[in-house]
Amino acid sequence: MKKKQQDLKRLLFNIASLVDLGQEVTSAKGIDEKMKTALYVVTGMFSVPKAGLFVYNADRHKLELVTCKGIKDADGTSIDVQTKYIKAFQKNTPYNISEARNNSFYERNAEAFRRLQAKTLIPLFAKDEFVGAICLGKRLSRTSYLHSEKDTLKVVASQMAITLHNSSLFKKIKNQVNENKKLYQNMRHIYHDTIQAFAAAIDAKDVYTRNHSYRVARYAVAVARELRWKAKEVEGIYIAGLLHDIGKLIIDKGLLNKGETLSAAEIQEIKRHPQISYDILSKIKFPWKDVVDFVKHHHERIDGTGYPDELKDPDLSDGVKILAVADAFDAMTTKRTYRKKLSLFDALREVNKCLGTQFDNRISKVFFKVLQKEIKGEIKEAQILPHLDKDFDPTIITTLLESITAELSY
């Protein structure tokens, strides 16, 4: 229990830091201050007292210091980087400099690395372009980076890479309108990366729910688009889908993966997760409204027998209703510890059976409709179909969907 609490705290701290970083790099501050702040965020996340941030100068084949922390007389420090080294770098991936001790890259720059007291190097790439690097010294915790920490570092690195990349563009474009638009785009990109990383952590808890959050998010997007929600609202429900089960992070893993029948107390424990999700997410400032409401109520039912608040239909928002269908549908069509997965045919019939009690008629009808359209190839960017097993007969499914939706029209 203690370890789990710590993992959660760690994760929350990282997420809050990533959100801070996102805000910093998209702020109106000058690039130097942005990069300095970004470096503080990274060094704070991993308790690294000494670090430097470099920008790549392609003409000179050198990494040039932009800003550093905790290192005296570092001004003017540069690192030689030949094209062959760049080709060998793994994008935005931290690696241990001492492990590379034998290679000529390290040898060439041994003096600079010693001055920086560098232990870890992260080459920064914006898409395929090498733009710079971060050097990190020893951590105060004296521990090495965990797998999850390396993943977080990757997200951080890609954010910083994009920021660096844009800063050079900034000089060329000089068009504030375009630039602001670009900044906004980047901010969204960054939030998505961050939240995606978070979602992956959630799904990893339970072997059977791998990518569950991602699929739920996709399915919800399909329905929201069909309802002609505005782009920003669609984004909101996507984020809610990715994060809806975040509360499961502090529910015992053994319990989540338990195959046999659960006791009443254990069921109660699992049912706490939407409330916990809410408690966690309400502390984060999201640029989208309603995310928290959607998450808290994704297990509510139309008939008022859901949880945590036993809300009834008129009190449930469309977003909540969408998530409820998307979540249940994915649970049905994937294997779970407690049962085999249902065929698409059986899953659709199951949703149909629960209309008016668990699921909302209108929203479910839209869900059926959009799936139908996707099967017929009428939707450009299919959101549901790519995630389903391909072993169903499209004619049978289409016929079923037609008859269900026809019935719902009366």
Binding site: E33, V42, L140, R142
Partner: protein, 117 residues
């Protein structure tokens, strides 16, 4: 931003630093430089009293990481006192508390440091 400030009390060979408000942006760098100034003056015993610190994020954590590093380099003694649980959790998580002594109250830290050379 302007919701951060520092209060100082120093006597003989000891200084008490009190960060106030939000330790969440580059403004908090002053904590690090203040600390170093005292080290340079030969004052090696530092108490940080957190009772007025409201908010801490990773930028703030970075500043304290820097202070701990300076303490190690100057062979100083650093004590943290009056920390809210939520901030202590962060410091523990980051391994910062491996290098400092944590006390409930400022006075306990001062008494502890008085007994040290």
């Amino acid at each position: 931003m302007n919701n951060f400030s520092i209060a100082l009390k120093s006597s003989n060979d000891l200084v008490v630093i009190m960060p106030k408000g939000y330790v969440n942006d580059l403004g908090a760098e002053r904590l690090e430089s203040t600390c170093e100034q005292f080290f340079n003056k030969g004052i090696r015993k530092v108490v940080i009293n957190f009772s007025d610190m409201q908010y801490l994020n990773s930028i703030g954590a970075s500043v304290f990481t820097g202070m701990v590093q300076k303490t190690l380099e100057y062979k100083g003694l650093l004590c943290f006192t009056n920390i809210k649980k939520i901030h202590l959790d962060v410091f523990n998580m980051l391994g910062i508390t491996k290098h400092v002594k944590v006390f409930k109250e400022e006075l306990e830290a001062i008494n502890f440091l008085k007994g040290k050379k």
